[in-house]
Symmetry: C2
Subunit: 328 residues, 2 copies
């Protein structure tokens, strides 16, 4: 569809199912968003409540499309948790109960009579950047999403590297500190444990309790946002914490770059909104310590281009790129 | 060609250009080796001397094929160093001088009038295992070659992950010990520096000099082979060194498995000949500490199936799988 241009308006629906909010949008092949709905995730109601939200939101958008005579060719769904891509099923959510082995693709297909593609939000995010964002004109991409957790996706020669069970790209769980702090996954020293928003907040909180480094930060649990804010104003403890996190990120990215030789590394997620001079700039500089020189040549490390609507654009890209003939 | 069976004997030539020896063979699509020549690499003569050896060896095999009426459809070349795959040029050798930017594919094409495919030996080795060895029936493969150095290759959905400049797969240069021992590549703490044959020999030699652990090993530079031999007989120092190396390998493999979610990990190279109970068995056990649980499910970690003729079979697989229409 995107190959034939937009002479006739053809569009897909992108649906992003996150832990805190669900977003759905009608998106043209050009990336133009024609309509968007966003709602807080009804996490307390479990998967069934979320599913009802999804049905309702998609129903609304399909009505809108019909009223405006926009033909919808496919629905792409990016989900915030592991997905059985082949089977079109959610495997689980780490935040909302009841998603175990949930046949989301089949249910949506039957309900709306449209082809549906379902994947995790990291894969969708990477395809979004490939089609609409920072990775245009690239074939080999490492996409890293740094927020409360750290997710990732790999594109090799224009195609997602999925691995055996669609779990490839889990850069947040490569171990950079042997026997380091415990991670949500149960292992010790994962990149996510030491360099995610959660990890940064935890580390700062630890050091504040310890009391040996000067700080203006309050003596309670602090967030990574507070840490970056304080670091920006020269707070000593906050600068130490950010410095550690950047070193861990440089190490983790360096490992992935050495293994994958991407042409571009794209950093998305909440942390990519931190001031560039605190995160992206020192990261670019320090990553060379951890990358085989030949893999560094010509490499770009940039922030994601898609921001507020990254989730739905990623889901839309999934529909366009992986929806196959059904979406054409 | 391999898809059409062997009703008519069709074959390729596989050429493996290593640091210590050059091997060439006529190989059928079934993997049967019909003729093979092996010579020590004339390293002192530089790239030009090696090239003359290669021409001579290929000339002999082509005569043999002609005498026996075996049609040769393609020549696959696996080279022990970085290769510009698209351009068909050697980039350099770390052991033999004069290979910089050497147009090997073009020279061989012009000399013999046959299609030629050129790649590094790790990529060729992985394709060899995919077509003829341990990775048959697999689509997602991590191939690791542990010898004097550590090389690797990644197969995703049946295709090599090459990355932007054909440098993907360099698992030997992911950094597992931050600020660790210096590696041949110039970085500190690469997997190759601490877990290759060279790294193991160096570490044992260091500990022998230090003199604080009981050992039967002589007070001179020892090889990894001597270390494994001594460990097998219960030597305390040798067991410590092997134990450290296995832990580093478990960490390095664990990282790559978490990132790539392969269905099978294949260990080739000289070290894969070490007794299984010293290397492969503890590796299988300890890798779980470093792998996201979901990526471990169903994962096989095995020794390479191809041994003595792995190099030429890999080069032959390269010709068959990547030679394209020219080789059909």
């Amino acid at each position: 569809m995107h190959r034939h241009g937009d002479a006739v308006v053809k569009a897909v629906i992108g649906l992003d199912v996150g832990n805190t909010r669900i977003t759905a949008a009608i998106v043209r092949a050009s990336g133009e968003v024609l309509a968007m709905i966003r709602r807080p995730t009804d996490a307390s109601g479990g998967a069934n409540a979320c599913y009802r939200q999804i049905e309702d939101m998609l129903g609304q958008l399909i009505s809108t499309a019909s009223e405006r005579s926009i033909p919808i060719s496919c629905v792409g769904v990016g989900f915030g948790g592991p997905v059985d891509y082949e089977g079109g099923r959610i495997m689980r959510s780490h935040h909302v109960s009841g998603w175990e082995d949930f046949p989301l693709r089949q249910l949506l297909r039957e309900k709306f009579g449209l082809p549906v593609v379902l994947d995790n939000d990291a894969n969708a995010g990477a395809l979004g950047e490939l089609l609409f964002g920072a990775a245009k004109r690239h074939r080999n991409v490492l996409y890293v999403n740094i927020g409360t957790g750290i997710g990732g996706a790999i594109i090799s020669d224009g195609k997602l590297v999925r691995g055996e069970n669609n779990f490839a790209g889990e850069i947040g769980h490569i171990i950079v500190v042997r026997d380091g702090p415990i991670c949500g996954c149960g292992k010790l020293g994962c990149l996510e444990a030491v360099a995610s928003g959660t990890g940064i907040g935890r580390r700062a909180t630890e050091l504040i309790q310890l009391g040996s480094i000067k700080t203006s930060l309050p003596k309670r649990s602090v967030t990574s946002k507070e840490v970056f804010e304080a670091a920006l104003h020269g707070d000593e403890l906050a600068m130490v914490v950010v410095d550690e996190a950047v070193e861990h990120l440089a190490h983790g990215l360096g490992i992935a770059i050495t293994l994958l030789n991407p042409g571009i590394v794209i950093i998305g997620g909440g942390l990519s909104e931190a001031p560039e001079k605190l995160l992206l700039e020192p990261l670019r500089e320090r990553v060379s310590k951890y990358v085989l020189d030949i893999a560094l040549k010509g490499l770009e490390i940039v922030n994601a281009k898609l921001r507020y609507d990254a989730g739905v654009l990623g889901a839309a890209a999934l529909a366009i790129l992986e929806g196959g003939v059904n979406c054409d």
